[in-house]
Symmetry: C2
Subunit: 315 residues, 2 copies
């Protein structure tokens, strides 16, 4: 079966193979194999979001393994739920692929999704498959809140801006791959598979005033908080000094490492604000401050203009 | 703005336009505009499913309007929930499209989704957008049960096999379009926009032993019930006589109209089984009977073999 293609095993063959890899999470009243899944949750409140990843837009098969792509696809969604302060429970997978795709590649992709979800005790519970020219991975996540949600709209003036996770690493990794290099390894791996401190964000959530998952880029996602909360966010360059690894890699290919840090998405760091009298939660560090005033992002007091982050339709 | 493209308004411009068309369904604690949506539901049990539609696989822009495609995409999912006996409440949309797609076309697509959901009192509550070479529409539906779910595994021997909705019409419409014809209108429309009696299925659900949404084809989906329930399902040809319109259209292009009826998907008829002592629910008609024995589908007692319906990866 190892080199069999989708065309050979068919849609139902693929579903059977995926089904074998699913683990019963305990709350499933009806799982894969009916028209829909039924979840017996603990509370009548549901947190949910969806993400869609497209081959050659979000990933390239020559840059990332199938398992890496599965990890990234799941992470994009899991991080969104966690940024709300919600515990992810279940994932649904909508998967489209060319008929000639190797079954083994797709199973690796599913394994990556399942592994990433496992980190949080969440389970892949079902989905849909179909044919397309390029691989499309769309994941829906469902979770529940332990406490109040951490919204984009909760930032208050005099809050500290704090972050857990890296900025610009995934972007740096992508840029060196695009330039034909295969190293530095740590950067390339950051693009291939994000390293996300979900637990730091979940543990901190109850202390925070606002939180967002940085997927569009630090400046763009900070602006989302600023607009939703009606505040100005000032980032401190002294707290955003790029790691030496980023500086060397960026210089080698003629990029600006601070641009990676401010506008690179896909590291899925958690950006949050917290009242200044509270302890900085484990895993977070201070990177700026919230001020009253027009909703905008400044760096050391100077407004950041122009392209702040990633717009999927920009050319 | 009418002829603006996605590249011109950008991802956030599109999200803003979609946001303006959403109606608050009442149960949304947090809607579009944060990392995830939060739904305050009535009960701690959730029914959910996902479908993915791909341009040129499931629809062609020259065969269907954007609004039609929106209706079909939503219908595929809503029918799955209703086939479980669940009331659909919320939809999430994952949408990928080329940068040069006209904004107006995408807004029409969203309008079609919203209109189809409205028929059931369900609401589009959020989603994700990105760029791709072809249009991809993946919808996740979330709903809740009023009573016990109507599973594929509930069919019992001596049950009557009943159905609400049409068989083979969407397939007939697609075939005449593929042959370059634009009529008969009723068939073409059946492909463009399914006409689904959701209410018949929801009202009947509590009386039924099993139910499925026919999306792969009558024979294939009947086999899903037969396998899940461990029963034989016998369909009666006298109750599946193709409408004159189907016969004429099929003969005109050299197709077998009974093949359309038995294997054509996408009409989203509801196929169900019910104990023989119960009244046939409004909107349903008898098309067969359930027998003890090996899980298989027969037509007038003779086994249906070969290609039973649609496999997305078959060539």
């Amino acid at each position: 079966m190892s080199k069999a293609t989708l065309a050979e095993i068919g849609e139902f063959g693929l579903i059977e193979l995926i089904q074998k890899r699913l683990v019963d999470p305990g709350f499933l009243r009806v799982g894969i194999g009916d028209d829909a899944a039924i979840l017996d949750l603990a509370k009548p409140e549901v947190v949910t979001c969806v993400d869609i990843l497209v081959e050659d837009q979000h990933f390239k098969k020559e840059f990332s393994s199938a398992k890496d792509i599965g990890h990234r696809a799941a992470a994009a969604n899991l991080a969104d739920l966690v940024a709300m302060g919600a515990q992810p429970l279940a994932l649904l997978l909508a998967l489209a692929a060319p008929s000639e795709t190797e079954v083994e590649w797709l199973i690796e992709l599913v394994d990556g999704i399942v592994e990433e979800a496992n980190q949080l005790g969440a389970a892949l519970i079902g989905g849909d498959t179909t044919r397309s020219d390029k691989i499309i991975v769309s994941i829906t996540a469902i979770g529940q809140l332990e406490n109040k949600p951490t919204l984009r709209s909760g930032a208050k003036s005099s809050d500290l801006v704090i972050a857990a996770g890296r900025f610009g690493w995934a972007q740096g990794g992508l840029r060196v791959l695009q330039k034909g290099f295969k190293s530095p390894n740590l950067l390339v791996q950051a693009h291939q598979r994000p390293l996300i401190d979900y637990q730091a964000a979940l543990t901190a959530a109850n202390q925070l005033n606002s939180m967002i998952d940085v997927s569009d880029g630090l400046a763009q996602d900070a602006l989302h908080i600023a607009k939703a909360s009606g505040v100005q966010i000032d980032l401190k360059s002294q707290n955003l000094i790029p790691d030496d690894l980023l500086i060397e890699a960026a210089m080698a290919i003629g990029d600006d490492p601070l641009d990676w840090v401010l506008t690179g998405g896909d590291d899925h760091a958690f950006l949050a604000t917290i009242a200044p009298d509270k302890a900085i939660p484990v895993g977070f560090r201070i990177i700026g401050e919230v001020f009253k005033g027009e909703a905008k992002i400044t760096l050391d007091g100077k407004e950041l203009l122009g392209r702040l982050g990633h717009d999927h339709f920009a050319n």
